[in-house]
């Protein structure tokens, strides 16, 4: 059980591809139909000014069928998931959720996962948490560990094998 199984969902690529296409055509035909391009999502988007993410354009491009282009685009990875677009959309289109779906599909179709996500996944697989307990530095530069602070042991899955088994079963499920 490794990262590849989890991210490719253990499916053969052909079957996976049709699954993804089905999901995407749902995005295209159902969700984006409601969007009337008011731009409210983009005007409040936290990633807009800094990274040029334009949620309303992504919805419009999906509607035009530019699905592969979106899945393969780096711009979908600039969303900070602040949920402002979902909150403010008068049509309940929720671009942030569309972006989550696009990113999931990019990962499932075998595109390289950007940045530290692979390490984070690997860590969840092996110890159940995003990262293991760290030593920290105080304001006057002393190094301190969790146990120095009299905090109890960190809660983690008690039976890692069973925990990993559950995750690997999940991996065989669809996105």
């Amino acid at each position: 059980m490794g990262i590849v199984d989890l991210t490719s969902m253990g499916e053969s690529q052909v079957k996976l591809r049709s699954e993804i296409n089905e999901r995407l055509s749902r995005l295209k035909d159902e969700i984006s139909d409601y969007c009337f391009q008011c731009g409210k999502c983009t005007s409040g988007c936290e990633a807009h000014k800094l990274l040029e993410l334009e949620p309303h354009k992504i919805v419009a491009l999906l509607k035009q069928g530019l699905i592969d282009e979106m899945v393969n685009s780096d711009v979908i990875w600039t969303c900070m998931s602040c949920f402002k677009c979902r909150e403010r959309c008068p049509q309940k289109v929720a671009p942030v959720e569309i972006l989550f779906a696009l990113k999931n599909m990019a990962v499932a179709s075998g595109k390289q996962i950007p940045g530290n996500y692979t390490a984070m996944l690997q860590s969840v697989l092996s110890i159940g948490l995003l990262q293991d307990v760290k030593s920290v530095t105080t304001r006057d530069n002393k190094t301190i560990s969790r146990s120095d602070l009299n905090l109890p042991k960190v809660s983690k899955p008690t039976d890692p094998t069973k925990f990993q088994m559950m995750l690997s079963k999940l991996a065989v499920e669809k996105v």
């Binding site: 402002k84 909150e87 995003l130």
Partner: protein, 290 residues
């Protein structure tokens, strides 16, 4: 005395110790008993971009662990609180998904039934404990300390899932801070995001967001910046110097967890609140004492 299972998540118990310490000090004084439980994992929210199904199942598993104890869940991290709440919402409303997820959980002898509640620090303090009770415990009021609040995106949005405060005009932190003598003031950037979730793939952009907000807070003359999320605090406090370098500004904004400030006003010693672990210049306010 009301009992909760403490669901610590990942970031708080592995590096943001000050949040955990101040929670463990402050809540018992307010008649809240926290129960530690073995076996929890990540809530899944930080890796939702990679696989949403995984996120849903991890959250369901964590809820199921608490259900076994028959206790409600206290999730101090807003991101965990959102993941658990969203998972609960989906499993309570979609029978098919509920059955599917429960099949996975059965391997570990767990099952999700949907009978426990999930609270965060904010609703626990404001709605369950109440501002009046907090007021009673104040020994050292924070005399007119001008504070800017930062709620964190996941704590207030999406409101459809049910969040502890209003999505566009949250005020519960303000109410709590007023109760301990501080003076919270509104500012235009209050709802701006810390950028923390971009740390995974665009770390410099994440810090730009952090630095830009702190710069505005500093310009407006606030004494302190108060947050309630371990991800946000990691950006605003732990990485403040780095954020300042990225936006080319000398940032000197004292940043506290809300629970640390409560502890100070209740007369709890600095050591017990993990105040030494704040890397922002909190000393300049001369709060607390040993």
């Amino acid at each position: 005395m009301k009992k909760y299972v403490l669901y610590p998540g990942c970031v708080m118990p592995t590096e943001q110790y000050a949040y955990e310490m101040s929670i463990r000090e402050v809540l018992p004084l307010l008649n809240i008993k926290l129960v530690d439980l073995e076996g929890f994992s990540c809530c899944g929210e930080p890796i939702k971009s990679v696989n949403q199904m995984l996120s849903l199942a991890l959250s369901a598993r964590n809820i199921a662990l608490a259900e076994k104890e028959g206790l409600d869940i206290f999730a101090p991290c807003p991101m965990c609180h959102l993941a658990l709440s969203e998972s609960k919402r989906i499993l309570d409303s979609e029978l098919g998904m509920n059955e599917k997820i429960n099949k996975f959980l059965a391997d570990e002898g767990l099952s999700y039934t949907g009978k426990v509640d999930i609270v965060n620090t904010l609703d626990l303090l404001h709605d369950i404990v109440g501002v009046d009770k907090i007021k009673e415990l104040v020994k050292k009021p924070l005399k007119e300390l001008k504070v800017a609040t930062h709620y964190g995106c996941h704590l207030i949005r999406p409101s459809e899932i049910g969040r502890p405060d209003d999505s566009e005009n949250p005020q519960k932190m303000e109410k709590i801070l007023e109760a301990i003598g501080a003076k919270p003031l509104d500012y235009p950037e209050k709802l701006d995001c810390c950028g923390g979730l971009l740390t995974a793939n665009l770390p410099d952009s994440a810090l730009t967001k952090t630095g830009q907000k702190l710069q505005k807070v500093q310009e407006q003359g606030f004494d302190a910046f108060i947050d309630i999320c371990p991800w946000c605090h990691r950006q605003y406090d732990s990485k403040q110097t780095k954020a300042g370098e990225i936006v080319a500004a000398k940032l000197e904004v004292p940043v506290f967890y809300l629970t640390q400030l409560l502890g100070i006003s209740f007369g709890i010693s600095k050591d017990k609140l993990g105040l030494d672990l704040n890397l922002s210049p909190v000393d300049k306010l001369n709060l607390g004492g040993k």
